[in-house]
Symmetry: C2
Subunit: 212 residues, 2 copies
Amino acid sequence: MSVKNIVLDTNAATANQIRKKLTSYGITSFNITASPGAGKTTILEKTILALRDKRKIAVIEGDIVPIDVERLSELEIPVVLADTFGACHLDASMINKALRHLPLESIDLLFVENVGNLICPAHFPIGTTYTVAIASIPEGDDKPEKYPLLFGNADVILINKIDLIPYCPFSIKRFTASVRKINKTAVILPISAHTNEGMLSWLSYVKKSKIS
Amino acid sequence: MSVKNIVLDTNAATANQIRKKLTSYGITSFNITASPGAGKTTILEKTILALRDKRKIAVIEGDIVPIDVERLSELEIPVVLADTFGACHLDASMINKALRHLPLESIDLLFVENVGNLICPAHFPIGTTYTVAIASIPEGDDKPEKYPLLFGNADVILINKIDLIPYCPFSIKRFTASVRKINKTAVILPISAHTNEGMLSWLSYVKKSKIS
């Protein structure tokens, strides 16, 4: 067995333990993956502001520099940095450590903001209920073709920044067709965290989410 | 010495060999780094179209799926895929292999399009003369703070998609100030590969480049 396979198998085992732990606490969790600058933190901010009165929310932040931890901490919910020590993705052991710093018995929804990267996060499941992939209009509509593992395994795909559609060469039809070649079931939601267009559909998805 | 340090030292040694080899052939080379969707391939296309009659250009493409190789091959210049085998960055040994497939004696300018990622490519020099970091307006102006190694080590930083400035919360002043905290010397060029605004400054930079 190669070193790579040992690393991935160990990660998968830890991810399973995390899944069981979160389920036992009744926590529904989301692994948020995207390129740098696709809008992960802004979407999280808006989601937290819309739902924090109805659900008990916590965030694990996977950035290499803790700027977003400071940004989200202003929302008066528990936010913990998962230190990647410079690595380009979160792994399950980092989540395990971060969970020790969260009050699990009083959390309904846990959002994990992964490191901005479309490659490595797709190789490392972290035990969340849902995987969210965020694309954004200015990045172009070829991203599902280029990063099939990430978009192929997502439960929900947000197409963010749709307010920029008039100014960018992006076809939602082409993007959706590319996704469907590799992922028949993902829910695809066009949104703009900037103008709030489509955000109600995403919030509804989150509210209906189940641990399962 | 840790495994990580051995890997980085081996890479640095190979990068030095590549630098010497390219210099001996009189080739000026550029390592193009950016997020996915920042505009690397479009900038390369426009650069090649503008300069291919005056300079002999070749490209090494570092994508995990060879879509951009096909795109650039239409420009009738040598384009080689550096296979990363799914990894999230190029390293010097991949460049060494790719160079075997290029006619080095008849190349003036070599562009290496790195994998779309703001973290790992910064840890792996690949022996090029220049390192180019591309940011783009919709990604937000906080990227130099979040990815200091990549923006700190760049020789030239392109701020692409400036045609989107009216629609995005991006301050070129804030971006530039963040860069200057970590990089006193990088040339910063705002451009739009879409509208061609600022492209002449970038082309002039490439034309004046020297092996050194």
